[in-house]
Structure formats: structure tokens, C-alpha cells
Symmetry: C2
Subunit: 140 residues, 2 copies
DNA sequence: GACCTTATTGCAAACGGTTTGCATTTGCAG
DNA sequence: CTGCAAATGCAAACCGTTTGCAATAAGGTC
């Protein structure tokens, strides 16, 4: 059950943050708006180059950083691979990564969240954030 | 509640795997045997150099790889930092990382494990492995 | 629309963690 | 003790990511 993703208006968001909407950014934002998966910087770059051949990978990284700082996207590091991005603002969820395909399935469980809090509590800690990733293989 | 760690006999283990016990390896294995925390390669290297000034970082990495391949240690990547190692063979557990100190506290919860299986099951997946990390701050 | 200031860009170089090629050394089976 | 394969140190390569810099362009102001 993938969480529904309302596509945020990245452009307005950046403008409100006082950032300029440049051509490269338009391209990148459009890609993010259209995408439903969890692409890494290289994938975003590849897609972007098709629209505008002289966009640089550095700009992709810088744009992702700007978006992240403004809470528009989230950065994940699954396994040991490159960072992958997804738009923030959806309800909290964790990830199940298909080890064969790299596909990411989102899921949420209040019970797991509650248990985590309980454990942290017992250890005398306050959870700042957490990471729960299930790596699995599709049953046939 | 840190899981009790029975120190494995790395040396015998490597010998059984047909690997040679060299001076650098002796030093590294001793360090691993003595350590209770989750050191990264650089830390192991630092400690090793004190015993034998000409051990190289490459050898640390190669030794850790050999140990990992033989199931003697586990490699973790907390946050975005360097890989950190711990001896395998202890009962399964997850980690709570103190965001202020980097300290790692181990914990286990059957209930969380069960919930994970349940979720994967529901999604039609079989869990190969998982990663659960709580990042927290000590309450005073 | 032209102008000006400042943010943003592309490029290439630097980065940090990790791996690798190679010539040399070493463990250890025979 | 010898010989050969395995392991070492070193430096260079690697990969994902960040950064310095000079050039370009966004977008507020007139």
C-alpha cells in the first residue's frame, strides 16, 4: 500500500524561500513532480539532460540540497548505494526494498512506531529520528 | 541492555577458512577481540598502528572484508558516516545511536521482529534482512 | 525595457571512504 | 628448508558528493 503522494508545488516553495527559479531548476523540479519512484542524483541528472543538455550533475545535487533544506524532499540511503530522494510531506512511512529490483515500497505501522518509542523510553532516550528498512524478495 | 558478547576465536576461524595468520592480522584480530564498541576502519587502524607502525589502512579494510565474508563480523553504516564493525554471532539485535556522542546501544525486540515479518508477509515479500536504527538523545 | 545586484551555473578540481594494481614480502605445506 | 600462493604496503584509482571560481542569468528597481 503505497502512501498517496500529493505533489508539492516545489516552485512556489523555493520562491517563498527566496530562491530563484532558473531553467535548470525548472527542469529538475518538473522531473521530481512527475516521478513516483525514489531516484538517485544520477538518475535525475540523466532525465534532466534529455530536456536540457547542459545541466550539470553539480546543479542536481545543489538543487536537491536546497529542496531538502526547505523540507520539500527527503534523502534516503538504502543499503550502501547512492542517496535516493522522495518528496516529503507525505505521511511518515518506512521502506521495503526489493533486493532483486531495487524497487521501494512504502509502508506504515503505528504499532511499530509505538514499539520504537517504548524501547527508546526504556533505554532513557528520546527518538530524534529513525530508520527502518526491510530488504526482501517477492514471494511467488 | 547490551547483548552479551562472546568473543569469537577469529584466528581459528580464519585458519579454517584457509587464510593465513599474518602479523598485521594478529594485531587487528586482537583489537577486535578487545573492543566492545563499534569502531570504524580508521579507528581500528589507529589502534593497530600503535602495535605495529607499518600496518596499512588497506590491510585493515582487507581483513575486515575477509572476516565479514566468513561471517565473523558485521558491517553497519549508521547515518552517513563510515562503516562500523561489530562481531557477529551475538544474538540478533538492532541499534540505538546516540546522536550526540555516536555511542551505540544494542537492543532486541521480538515484538518488532514479529511485526516486520507480518508487514512483509502482507506485502507479499520475504525479508532477507532488515535495518532498524533509532537515533536518539539521552533524556536527563 | 534597461540596469544592477546577487544568486546560480558549469566546469573541474577536491573531497572522504573504500578498493585495487603491482612489485615485494611472508606464511606455511611439503 | 624450499617454493609457491597468499598477503602486504604503497600509491593510484574509485565512486558519490561537494566546492572554488569565473561566467551567466534571475528578478527587483527605476
Amino acid at each position: 500500500m503505497t502512501a498517496p503522494n500529493r505533489k508539492p508545488d516545489y516552485e512556489t516553495l523555493l520562491r517563498q524561500a527566496g530562491l530563484r527559479i532558473t531553467r535548470p531548476r525548472q527542469v529538475i523540479l518538473q522531473i521530481l513532480t512527475e516521478t513516483d519512484d525514489h531516484p538517485d542524483a544520477a538518475q535525475i541528472f540523466q532525465r534532466a539532460v534529455k530536456q536540457d543538455a547542459q545541466i550539470s550533475l553539480a546543479t542536481v545535487y545543489r538543487t536537491m540540497k536546497a529542496l531538502e533544506e526547505n523540507g520539500a524532499i527527503q534523502r534516503h540511503a538504502f543499503g550502501d548505494g547512492p542517496a535516493r530522494f522522495e518528496h516529503a510531506g507525505d505521511a511518515h512511512h518506512d521502506h521495503l526494498i526489493d533486493v532483486d529490483t531495487g524497487d521501494v515500497i512504502e509502508f506504515a505501522s503505528d504499532r511499530i512506531e509505538a514499539l520504537q518509542d517504548e524501547i527508546a523510553e526504556r533505554l532513557g532516550y528520546e527518538i530524534v529520528h529513525h530508520r527502518l528498512e526491510l530488504y526482501g524478495r517477492k514471494k511467488r
